[in-house]
Symmetry: C2
Subunit: 627 residues, 2 copies
């Protein structure tokens, strides 16, 4: 099973017999690579090989030597487990060699991983959590048409099993809503999932009806009829709206021993079977494909990113009561001067204040309606294309998109999220609207930054800072208006903390953020009346956290009370404990957080009932200080 | 605006004029309640009042004095923000009085919260995170037909804004797939969302086409034509499959000052406007509704829950290598003797071993296909009906359902989740498949139990224990086979921990769970060879955690190394730190966790690269112990 030395090159005018040979080569290499690796999904690759052969030979406008060409098409493997097929395409394109495919696939320290990730220059987004690739494709298509003003097309290969994910329909709804003529999904309807037949098996008519009902054109084809596939992909070029090619295929196609047989999902063929399969497929080939190239175009309008003049942030008067979400909205407007900044809303923009951006920059404001997963996917797609998205909704509802955020981290995307209405502070709306788990979720995201300002000045400054942070950053904002604490121009370095009260006689440190910082400040006043001096730390940067400030406070005061409007797990309290442990500091410690099920009420009632109000802070501080 | 003393009772044979009066009363009371509360969503209530008046007067088979009647229909307000309407219905049914409605709605300490929760006896599930009620309704309908064998119907009131949530289409797909003739959604197409017009506005034909494409019957009606609504709801009784009633309505209907006007979402009418509105609506009424009653039926087969004989757990031989997911599957089979136990799969049952249950109990095994949100919603629906669901998928993909899990906790549901394939341990499949954030997510769930067994014996025992736990419990299982550590019959109390090695000369404690426990055991061997005695703790119960065992180990050994195949945030390390802090113990501490982006590789390669292998444990232990 070694590669033949004779190389034939297929140009974009290759005839259909040559495309057939290419498809067979993709099959052969999919089988060889997964057998060599000892794991992988050859049968899921075999079903889609014809689709991909036609696409890469005749339709995908792509220069494999220049994957960053801004005019190039994009291909997303939503069925990321078909990575043998994708990597076989890389080989056919000459982007990788046979040796890399055969000796590194799924091996440690190499880039041809079990599921594709952007460590590969030809991969935009990580896939492998099914139902996401379609959504990212919509985001990229939206960026291309509406932000970059480019003519590139986005092609998504999608499995039939993943069509049961609601996220696929969120995505197709948006493809239809935006009339994304540059967006095409190829659904590989191979009828068999991991455990057996799929929900709809080969009922291609149902897939088509659904796609059409969601505003897409549906083209049903035999996914192994190369001419038919070619006609369908040619049709796409007419620009008549988003297209879903519903391709009836056979899982394991071309290898009689596994074709259309259950029990072969995610299993490499044993050596002897692989040998028979390669023979049945016509043996190892060494075709090279040179498909259509991207058009040579001058840089488009949207692609120019000019250096922004630092614009003035909104001014807030110390002592005025301003909600941090209002400051967030104001800072977004300021950030609008940077052409790469885009803002996404999930139909709560008047609550999050994301909407403030729309008036100034309607062309860079995207309404996702109530579709948090697609909002994040759009943000990822835009980030992949060089934009800096701010995606916004209630903190509670970001949990809806947790898996997308997790995968965005695997894609190593840079983007900003803002979750408003955190905690019991929101009051009467009740627990369904209270973000009480978001810090735990966002802290555990790989490479994330988690910010939680307590006043408008810091909220605005941190909002701006997020535009230059690597990875996924998260700003947690508060519903209610609380006093402005800092004057204009105050610096809030990420990873820092502010000491708002301190003195040489401090006997306890109170750590808060958001509404609880204000409770800490009030508690410190009461304690001071009593002769107990408290240091107060504004922990606006939850991750990274300011270990130095915390360690010094612990050392100097000997006692730390952390108060947070969040569940006790995974939030500020545990961040502080981790920091103190790493610094070898072990103060007396109290942790006030929301342990029960809140209901409706006023902010003060709910803070008090949750045990995180100033009164509880005073009690905890006195207990720790032995008073 | 006080209630009139004259009470008229509407029976199920009430004429349409009486139903109109009822609808007007629901409107009046929605306006009054929200104005009195100073917050709430009157206009979203007004649009759906006619739908609900017809439903409760003529179709909903419900005894408001006996909400637990097993034959009763179920009503889910997916648009939970229309709580004024729901509570006005309670009043019209005589379930609550006018005083409760007017003086407690949205107030602290009372049950008429901003969004409905099951603290109310007439509410099955908490709503308020949009797009979820439809999904829960499917779960209840499935439980009724397939488990309880009851004839009750499930009615869901859904907003049009939430139809952009993919979860709605996951749900309707399942309603169609299961041909749930007992399931009806009423979509209140009032055209206006929170920020402005909805995506589809009044395009009822599109909603209908989508519903039909997803296997439901669609009936388009004028939602204010009482006769038409009544005809549609009568049609539902023909048992011809799931039905989506697409009702064109007007937001704010009946109150000219706000009807079909943008800018009135989620705003109570000011006192003067409310007064004019009540007058326009014909003033305060005091109608009482007595709609159709549930049929008096003998207890159905499925509703009998017999006391289970404790069945024998599968046997595992100490030292044999068995994956904990295999033990989970085996224990599920044992649990099958308990008729309330049901198992849900998201098309990975041969990986999670949930599938093992199917052969023994096919009638209580539910294939969700790849639709994690709906899987959890089905589980919630079944739990609400008294069953004990075990919902299962990869740990990584449970993040897809985070918001549903969060809301299930608000619903105070008892159910078990199992996430398999956690951590880098899985090997070649790569980061998209690695659950590395699940502990943080699940620990932060209100009232959750988090279990993470290291061997087959404990995995089986804990799987069984979950069937009797309150709230949401989570079992984290491992892909690979690791040695069985415990003999049959060993007890694993929830909240406990096992000390696997200890001695009077212990100088360090190694804490692990899952694969890292085995790394700790191997490290302890190496350290012992070197004369450094290590205590080893199996932290199979991550929440609640065994503070006593940890505190004693910290006190006696002075140094603790925690090793986890999870992100550093929100997992075992922070759970241990919180426990130690609460016990006032401050050992030297090291925390090994997965900080970088893993790729593919073997388990050993990936554990080592992540810094959580035995070698790293040895190094950390030596450092802490000063060796």
């Amino acid at each position: 099973m070694t590669a033949s030395p004779t190389t034939t090159t297929l140009g974009p005018d290759s005839d259909i017999d040559q495309v057939f040979e290419l498809a067979q080569q993709l099959r052969v290499d999919s089988v060889r690579a997964s057998t060599a690796a000892g794991s992988g999904h050859p049968t899921s690759s075999l079903s889609a090989a014809d689709l991909m052969a036609v696409l890469m030979a005749r339709h995908l406008r792509y220069d494999w030597d220049a994957p960053d060409d801004p005019a190039a098409d994009h291909l997303v493997f939503s069925k990321g487990h078909a990575s043998p097929l994708l990597y076989a395409m890389f080989k056919a394109a000459g982007a990788i060699g046979d040796e890399e495919l055969m000796t590194t696939y799924r091996r440690f320290g190499h880039r041809l991983q079990g599921h594709p990730t952007p460590v590969l220059p030809w991969v935009d987004v990580a896939t492998g959590s099914l139902g996401q690739g379609v959504a990212y494709g919509v985001g990229i298509a939206l960026a291309g048409r509406d932000l970059e003003k480019r003519d590139y097309r986005v092609w998504v290969l999608c499995g039939d099993s993943e069509m049961t994910e609601g996220s696929v329909w969120e995505a197709l709804d948006k493809a239809g809503h935006h009339r994304l003529a540059n967006f095409t999904v190829l659904v590989d309807v191979n009828r068999l999932g991991q455990c057996g037949p799929t929900e709809l098996e080969w009922d291609t008519a149902v897939y088509a009806r659904r796609a059409e009902a969601f505003g897409c054109r549906a083209l049903v084809v035999d996914g192994h009829d190369l001419e038919a596939v070619d006609r369908a992909l040619t049709t796409v070029a007419d620009g008549q709206g988003p297209t879903v090619v519903v391709a009836r295929t056979v899982k394991g196609r071309g290898v009689a021993e596994v074709a259309d047989k259950n029990g072969w999902h995610g299993k490499p063929l044993p050596d002897d079977m692989a040998e028979r399969a390669v023979a049945e497929l016509g043996g190892v080939r060494d075709l090279r494909v040179r498909g259509p190239r991207p058009p040579a175009t001058p840089p488009a309008d949207g692609s120019e990113v000019r250096a922004a003049e630092p614009a003035a942030l909104p001014h807030f008067e110390v002592g005025d009561e301003v909600a941090t979400r209002v400051a967030f909205g104001g800072a977004l407007v300021t950030l609008g001067d940077r052409p790469e900044v885009v803002v996404l809303d999930a139909e709560v923009g008047n609550s999050t204040h994301a909407e403030d951006f729309r008036a100034a920059h309607p062309d860079r404001y995207f309404q996702s309606y109530i579709a948090e997963q697609q909002m994040i996917a759009d943000a990822v797609g835009m980030a992949v294309r060089g934009f800096r998205p701010y995606a916004t909704t209630f903190a509670a509802f970001l949990t809806r998109a947790h898996d997308f955020i997790r995968m965005a981290a695997v894609s190593q995307v840079d983007m900003a999220l803002c979750g408003t209405h955190c905690g019991v502070e929101i009051g009467a709306d009740g627990p369904s609207q209270m973000g009480l788990e978001d810090l735990a979720m966002m802290r555990a995201v790989l490479g994330s930054t988690v910010l939680y300002p307590s006043d408008a000045t810091s909220a605005a400054a941190l909002t701006v800072a997020m535009a230059d942070l690597d990875g996924i950053s998260y700003l947690r904002t508060t519903r209610g208006a609380h006093p402005v604490l800092y004057p204009d121009g105050e610096a809030f370095p990420v990873g820092g903390a502010k000491v708002l009260r301190h003195g040489e006689h401090d006997r306890v440190t109170l750590v808060g953020a958001g509404v609880t910082l204000h409770e800490c400040l009030a508690a410190a006043e009461r304690l001071a009346d009593d002769g107990l001096h408290a240091r107060v730390v504004d922990l606006y940067s939850v991750k990274p956290v300011d270990t130095d400030v915390l360690a010094r406070a612990a050392r100097e005061t000997g006692a730390v009370v952390v108060v947070e409007d969040h569940r006790p797990q995974g939030g500020i309290g545990e961040a502080v404990l981790s920091a103190l442990a790493s610094a070898g500091q072990h103060p007396a410690f109290a942790h006030l957080a929301v342990t029960g099920l809140p209901g409706s009420g006023t902010t003060d009632e709910l803070l008090d009932a949750a045990g995180i109000s100033r009164g509880h802070v005073v009690t905890a501080a006195r207990r720790l200080a032995g008073r």
